[in-house]
Symmetry: C2
Subunit: 300 residues, 2 copies
């Protein structure tokens, strides 16, 4: 089986071809320009690849509601030209194959559940903490869409007692993203995160915010694995700090062995590393093909 | 089809018989005593009812993991005799029918999604705000279990600026339940909630906490309906206050019509009212029968 994968990011597109084992056989990348130019590159790449399906993990917000007339569209992004762009439809007008379509973070969650840190589990939550905070949610074997799609990066957390930074989310000020994404870190400390030493107080404060979000998601969804990726999480010293703070917030209330006595294997980095995005799109492509096949076999 | 339903509460058991349309044809209730006595009542009730399946919505914590050796057990409750009690097994040893088993709040969420306020939708979140705060989660057509089951009543919220109540959750102090459940309300205001006038400042504070929880769950899960039940929510004046505060917290970020312009039909009371628990158990019973039937027909 040859599966096409598109990691559609706000600044960069990665396209690749892989198989149902999660092996990427080929890949290219190019900057995200206006949709017509960008899609020209995408279509040129897949033209001779003879893929059986394509999976797309896309920047958002996007329309995931199958019954909606704008299913497969990018919705209200400020990115020039992309607002209201029919991403899936454009692709399907050229390639007559099943297309899997979801948010970049849901794709990453599915990739990790298929071949990565949550392999074999029927639930996980995937956070990316970088220029923004995004959350992908996989429960009971399904990616969660709901009304729109999860936007858990914008939940409210309590303020750290030593923090007087106002927060820089244009919608919510001091929500999680406004306090803990890369740009918030930089604005608060007047320095890029990766220039701060490992023992800088920035990291304890960062862990404080992230740990609250994770504790809330554990209480709300009881995921079988929590995966933390994105640029900020390259600071590996954050992991033990976050785990300790989550343990202290939950205070033994959720009496699951994975949390109480094995939290270092419960709150983890993405196993697919920098491939998480593309592998996630690949997993969406595999799933799109499987569901098409299942529909066919139940009709026969 | 005759479906048995058990609403297994910490102080009261309700047993009933109904059908696949959600119609309750008969019901009894009795106090929750030690498990042997209580189950004797349950078994006596169903003995001559010839039900095709039984659904149980139970107080918790309970084991919902099908692969676990203690699936169907009540786990670590302080309630005398119930800790480690094999609820489902005891019932199945007498009645050879499919048994649906879930938390009381998940059952209520399923009942509302089947016949109530979220009828026809594939996701909703159900809160009960009473002696405690419980949350049932239904996403993409499935009840969420995960590692244990949701315990979203214990998330951390921000403190109201005029609130100096320490909070009374034995695990977390000032978590949502510790600040907003009935006993917290009573401890803070030295009066039972239902004796306070509608314009008492207690309600604005109560709405402040509940609205944070709902905003966070909307951002995390994007549910298609949010349903608020339980004793505290009998104070109908809370609904418009909660809706207004949720609107103000989200600040237009989640651009879904249901939230932005129709929030009075989005954050609602349970439509099944005081039948929510028993109807939820009934819905679990229907689902247990359906899945048994589906397995059979796919084998044939």
């Amino acid at each position: 089986m040859r599966i096409g994968a598109i990691e559609a990011g706000g600044t960069k597109f990665v396209c690749g071809v892989g198989n149902e084992l999660g092996e990427i056989e080929d890949r290219v990348h190019f900057p995200t320009r206006r949709p017509e130019e960008t899609m020209e590159n995408v279509i040129a790449y897949f033209r001779d690849k003879r893929v059986d399906s394509i999976g797309i993990g896309s920047f958002g917000p996007i329309d995931l509601e199958h019954s909606s007339p704008t299913y497969g569209y990018v919705t209200t992004t400020p990115k020039p030209g992309w607002s209201g762009y029919n991403f899936v439809g454009t692709l399907k007008s050229v390639f007559d194959v099943p297309v899997g379509w979801d948010t970049d973070v849901n794709a990453a969650a599915l990739g990790e559940a298929t071949w990565g840190a949550a392999q074999g589990l029927d639930s996980c939550v995937y956070y990316t903490i970088g220029t923004g905070v995004g959350v992908g949610v996989y429960t009971e074997g399904n990616l969660v869409h709901g009304l729109v799609h999860p936007e858990g990066g914008h939940i409210l957390t309590r303020r750290h007692p030593n923090d007087d930074f106002a927060g820089n989310c244009p919608y919510h000020g001091d929500c999680l993203e406004g306090m803990a994404a890369g740009p918030a870190l930089e604005a608060r400390w007047k320095a890029k995160g990766d220039t701060l030493p490992e023992d800088h107080p920035a990291w304890e404060m960062e862990a404080f915010y992230i740990a609250q979000a994770i504790s809330n998601v554990i209480l709300t969804l009881s995921p079988k694995k929590v995966i933390l990726g994105g640029g900020v999480m390259k600071q590996a010293q954050l992991f033990p700090m976050i785990r300790a703070q989550v343990g202290s917030i939950l205070n033994g209330y959720v009496s699951a062995k994975s949390i109480v006595s094995d939290i270092e294997h419960y709150i983890v980095a993405p196993k697919l590393g920098d491939n998480a995005g593309l592998c996630g799109a690949l997993a969406l492509g595999v799933r799109a093909l499987d569901s098409r096949t299942n529909v066919r076999s139940s009709i026969q």
